[in-house]
Symmetry: C2
Subunit: 194 residues, 2 copies
DNA sequence: TAAAAAAGAATGAACATTCATTTTTTTATA
DNA sequence: TATAAAAAAATGAATGTTCATTCTTTTTTA
């Protein structure tokens, strides 16, 4: 009840500020005072929305992860064929990582450091289930290689994180052609070869 | 002169402690005092070997990156064919990431956060040159896809980082068979298809 | 006008770094 | 080779700052 009365805008502003500051300076160099300032809020106000700094970053992670997977699966439905379902999801993920670069970067940072609680990490993983289900179906139909989800993810999805980071650092620019090539690589790395 | 007298062992112990603590707690939660304690040294002593905390972590990064690439290219020579050269390097990298897991994890953390200075990051990248040269040769011979180094790296090498992290988190175990499959995926994602 | 939300200032702990000494190593001399 | 003076290395404690969090008061909302 109390919570519902509090302004959701303020919570969102805090989450947004956290993402931006952690991306630019790292967790170690983002004090609560800066987060508050960027969100136009008093430091004390943060504690009306979050238990402490750890809780703030955990919740931010879960929020962003949920947004990411919502975007990824938004236009997917389970009746699609394995191949076209995968293509759809892959391209949505690519889209997200390149357009919502800030959010994708934040996830990459969280996924490669111990700044997130193990519990929140697990929470974040759950959202990926539709993709894992698709792969399982693909394996049963003999279309997808009968290997661990981790191997499939490593070759089909994870490269996009690397490309996103490289692009963010200005090292190179991903265009439409690259993207199509990348998709082909992804698909051929997980499909069963005839 | 003065520097040579100082015990290289102490510097190494400090670097080692930094890797271990940053891996387990993150940069934000590794105070100099803990690093000193783990290296059996007084906090003040750190400042005889490093300018400050940032310098310590930068140097640690460069050290580990150099060790990584030294290992990767150790048995490679430029007269090898593109395909066997690539296989050799890939397998050495895989070996390193799985055996020297702590070091590989540290690199992954540094490569996905702003804890390292841009200058040190650039320094670290230089070491990778032999692989880039091999790819260039491969492109000229029509064996390797004529695409950006970043795309090749994303699909051929980076997945190993993801698999290493997954393994480290205990999520799954990479065995010989997996590794061979992973290599095949890597190679087929960068070679020109006949 | 009462309850909820927000604010700014205060608090106390943690931390990076420096300081003043002590210990160890090196050098020079006999 | 033994010894003492000098230099270098190392130390534990001190310093001053930064920061997360809390407290008290004010403002807003119902």
């Amino acid at each position: 009840m109390a919570k519902l009365q509090k302004s959701i805008d303020k919570r969102n502003a805090l989450v947004k500020a956290t993402i931006e500051l952690v991306n630019n300076a790292g967790f170690h160099a983002t004090p609560m005072s800066k987060i508050a300032k960027m969100a136009n809020v008093s430091p004390a106000t943060i504690y009306l929305y979050f238990e402490n700094k750890q809780d703030l970053v955990n919740q931010t992670y879960i929020d962003v992860k949920a947004e990411y997977t919502k975007y990824a699966f938004d236009t997917y439905d389970e009746n699609m064929s394995v191949e076209s379902g995968f293509e759809l999801i892959w391209k949505r993920i690519a889209d997200f990582k390149l357009k919502e670069c800030e959010h994708a970067m934040f996830l990459a940072q969280c996924d490669n450091t111990p700044i997130i609680d193990e519990i929140s990490r697990q929470e974040g993983i759950k959202h990926l289930q539709p993709l894992l289900d698709l792969w399982e179906r693909g394996r049963q139909e003999g279309i997808i290689k009968p290997v661990s989800d981790y191997l499939l993810y490593a070759y089909a999805i994870n490269p996009l994180s690397f490309l996103m980071m490289a692009q963010k650092r200005g090292a190179f620019q991903l265009n439409k052609t690259h993207l199509e090539e990348a998709y082909q690589s992804a698909w051929s790395s997980i499909k069963v070869c005839k």
